[in-house]
Symmetry: C2
Subunit: 314 residues, 2 copies
DNA sequence: ATGAAAGCGCTAACAC
DNA sequence: GTGTTAGCGCTTTCAT
């Protein structure tokens, strides 16, 4: 009943004699023995966790991506360490150092801008799979998995223009963080191509719904409005209803993300569906795929695309 | 330039001579040195992480609770390991074992039912702060921080009854998991006290909004409806609008949770505000408070209460 | 199929 | 203010 045999009984039960195995398992259950992961990691020279960094846990997109990732990780007996930057790259840099200290099997960044240059350098040095998820990055540390936020919003704006809308505003939270600038760029590209101009309504509120709600007072001269997120759009719908403006007759409203709520509000929200869960799952696949480095070298960015979902609001 | 001095320079910079400290910091930056947390944890006999278990990351309540907890943990240089049970206690038991293997500083369970008896026994043996957050538990492992879901729904039902509603349905996802049974119990208690009967509409859909949306077809004989969550209620509003039923004239609708969306839908949602973020932060406080055991012994359950928020829908 | 020896990288305790 | 010694609990390598 040597220590090493117990170690093997836990990690590779098949290499231990059935009788011994049974006795060991009984003893483990009796004592309530729980192996010390730190010692195991130290001896092996590598940890079993996976690290993820998100701007905020409270955004449904990141929560869904993490949920998919965590499912994938659990299937590999890995647990997930999470850091939240609140859109502050300096925090991201600190987080990356702290997370790398556990020698994770891989790191997933939800958004390429969650860290600054220091964090990126540390990740590059770490020699582990690094996935930048959610957007497409030109020169990722490891691999980038996502879609083009700019192309998505350009597509949506073109739809509005094709439906005859001419004064299309864009509502966004201020300050403009994360992918919002890319979305605005897509909207503006479509407007430029059509010879139109439009106004950005940036509202300094943390809560997305409140951003939309308050923005509704500044849309009286617009006949359409795109929002940086579905949550914002739902707020806009509420604010417009309060002012007695009819959607889509007086003004069209479009969201971004196709959250579950988009289908059940009145009117149902036209929006862009994004493959959040698929991105999270694919990020997990890459972390656990021994060939991740080859894959990243072959195609540094995997575009999962998006889908225009036309409903009643626009 | 001994190893131990580097160790001290990192952990307690003030005990190292300024000149030495500077040289060490320069060297760290140059080499990109990142300490090995496993080795540190092993040597100290304790880890620096905090573990949390949630039924699902995608519920806004748990995401908000985790966000508050993670903020608290980060202030203490601790990182957060997260497990997701998807409402399967067997998964929770496995998760607890895996999480305890990292010798966490403490564990927060969002919902007392995320584990089975095996997990609870392991946690009790671990001799670390254990917080059962979100609901009130009669005999918690360590301490319980939350509010009474039953009392909250009873209060809300009483409000509806006071407003003259007599045929009050309760809409919930099927199967009934988590705190839903407690909420139903509160609703029923109020109805019983008033001599009323009411119907539970349980819809087998995973998505909360869809549950509400579909339930709306089964509410034709009701003059009020309570929902197990705001998300469900928003779905109900959508479904009722589609059927041409007016809220609150024909039927009152009430939610649970006071999510941000509740204030911006039309009509604005009457609901129960719950102290999610305060619970998450308080859970963190307990993990890092050396007197947690005394506190838990003195008052095993901390009731953070709830608040009835009356808006237009009911 | 099982065990013995060595060492992973760090920190606690104790010098100096 | 800094260094030395020992050891944390595992796993790897090499026996047996």
């Amino acid at each position: 009943v040597g220590a090493i045999t117990v170690s093997r009984a836990i990690r590779e039960p098949l290499t231990v004699a059935p009788a011994t195995l049974q006795r060991i398992e009984a003893a483990i259950a009796e004592v309530g023995y729980i192996p010390n992961q730190s010692a195991a990691d130290l001896a092996r020279g590598a940890g079993r966790t996976v690290a993820a960094v998100v701007p905020t846990l409270e955004a449904p997109y990141f929560a869904a991506g993490l949920a998919a990732l965590i499912e994938r990780a659990e299937a590999e007996q890995a647990s997930l360490s999470i850091g939240q930057t609140l859109y502050d790259p300096a925090r991201g840099d600190r987080l990356v150092t702290a997370l790398l200290a556990s020698r994770p099997r891989g790191v997933v960044l939800f958004g390429a801008d969650v860290t600054g240059p220091a964090g990126r350098a540390a990740l590059a040095r770490a020699d582990i799979p690094v996935v930048e998820a959610w957007e497409l990055v030109a020169r990722p540390i490891g691999i980038s998995i996502g879609f083009s936020h700019q192309a998505a919003c350009q597509r949506l704006a073109e739809h509005l223009i094709a439906r005859g809308r001419r004064r299309i505003a864009f509502v966004v939270r201020a300050p403009i963080v994360g992918r919002a600038a890319q979305r605005i760029a897509g909207w503006r590209a479509a407007l430029d191509a059509a010879g139109l101009t439009g106004e950005v309504v940036a509202v300094p509120e943390a809560q997305p719904y409140a951003v939309g709600w308050l923005a509704a007072t500044q849309l009286d001269t617009s006949d359409a409005v795109m929002c940086a997120a579905d949550t914002v759009a739902v707020g806009v719908l509420g604010g417009l209803a309060r002012r007695g403006r009819r959607v889509p007759e007086d003004i069209a409203v479009a969201g971004f993300g196709d959250l579950d709520v988009a289908a059940v509000v009145t009117p149902a929200l036209t929006t862009i569906a994004v493959p959040t869960a698929r991105i999270g799952a694919a990020a997990g696949d890459h972390l656990f795929d021994p060939r991740w480095r080859d894959a990243a070298a072959a195609a540094p960015a995997r575009d999962f695309g998006f889908e225009l979902v036309v409903r009643d609001s626009a």
